[in-house]
Amino acid sequence: MAKFPSVEWFKAIQDLVNGDDGIRKLGTCDAVMGVKVQDKAFEITFEAFDCTGVREISEAELANTDFYLDASYETWQEMLENISQSGGQPDRHLTLNTIDFLAPDGFAKSDDQSRKDRFYRYGQTFQQFFNASAEIKTEFAVPA
């Protein structure tokens, strides 16, 4: 069981998606995705067909990512629980894309729209990344 959010949790997903034929079939993905959960921040790097890096970063370093996903802890938990319960097929209002559309300030954030567009360009790769969390047990732990 891995705690969300933590480097261990993201590394568990990284191990699942690397070498996965479904992800590879989606095509190359070159982007640095940030994840912000309350006061914790993470950087997940995608290169070619793999997720090549996962690390915890400072909140200020989120500005160096192409975009970062930022939502309330409740939204993250609802999304991941839905992914888990649906076997990796989340309801439409809980996909990355629709959360982004429905949130007034968006889910994916960046000061550079062109870099933020990578969220949309590789959207299915990122969705598959989080969908893979259905294969692990997640313990939700609100960051202190």
């Binding site: 290169e47 894309n97 567009d117 949309y120």
Partner: protein, 358 residues
Amino acid sequence: MAIDQKVIDKLRKEPGMPDIDLSWLREEDSPGIVAKAGKRGLTLDEINKGVYGEVPEIAKHGTTRSRGSIPRAGVMRTAYFVPEKSDIWADNATLIYEEAVQRQWSSATDIPWETVKPLPDIVEEAICQICTFLTEVEFIAGDAPGQWLKKISPDHYEVALYLISQVMDEARHLDVFRKRALVNGCGLLEAQGATRGLRNVLDSQDFTEMSALMHVLAEGFVQTMFRTGEFIAQNEAEKTIFRLCAQDESRHVGFGVMHLRYVLEHTPERREEIHHYLDRAEQLFGHPTDGGNTGLQEALLITMSGDGKDLDKGAELALALNKKQANEYMHRLEVAGLGDRRERMNPAFGMLLDPPKN
């Protein structure tokens, strides 16, 4: 690569053979570059090395000669190409082309068509009206870059390859929306016709004009609509269609933004000219007297309301969509270096803009 002189001599003396020239066998002209595959395979960036990667600022010949090959006298010209690199270039053309090839999909086999089930008439008809509109739009989105293919020099082949990939993407979009309209018994509804804004894209006389109008403005707006599509989708097939189309559309927007940035960096004197194109395009795009989009707007209201009953909810979401479209358009222009567009944007879009961040 060494050529055995004995082989050449033998070829020259072969009985019954016409005189052999073999002047093309010029080892001394070979730059001796060995391209190696990287993480993404053997991509264009991996082979664009040395003389093969030197992109001329001006394409000086009108023949089909590939960049890096050896010129030959007496070759016929095949076209008048756009000579200036700065008029057509984008630094991400190779990356986006390779990505497009990697991320292709099939409307025949990658969409779970079996998930499309009978829907309430009003919802089915609204979806089919949206599909009718998008089928037309995608036809134009393929035609517009297609018009420019014959004008791209082989010296700037990367741009031609990107445009070809876009035409393929648009062809797939055209066919997938047509298939969706026909798969559930409703079919295509009212033709929206090429609205003034879309006609303006087709009429572009300049590549940057075409790209700014189509990639940055029109496709930017359509990309946001595709992203919304997942929310209005009634089944897994529609969700998949919109998700995959949004990815494709984002590549086209990405090319357009980087092209505009390249133009403004290398030919800053074109700034006012580009503003002029956008002045006209914004005025024509969704002009209130142009009834061509009425069917689309009403169909969006119905689908965004869920079942066509709560139109206030539909209107609220449609406004949210329009705000995202306008703001993302403005942000992309800022990235391209046209941040001063904010002051002169058409009021129809300007009124939807959030205040600037800085």
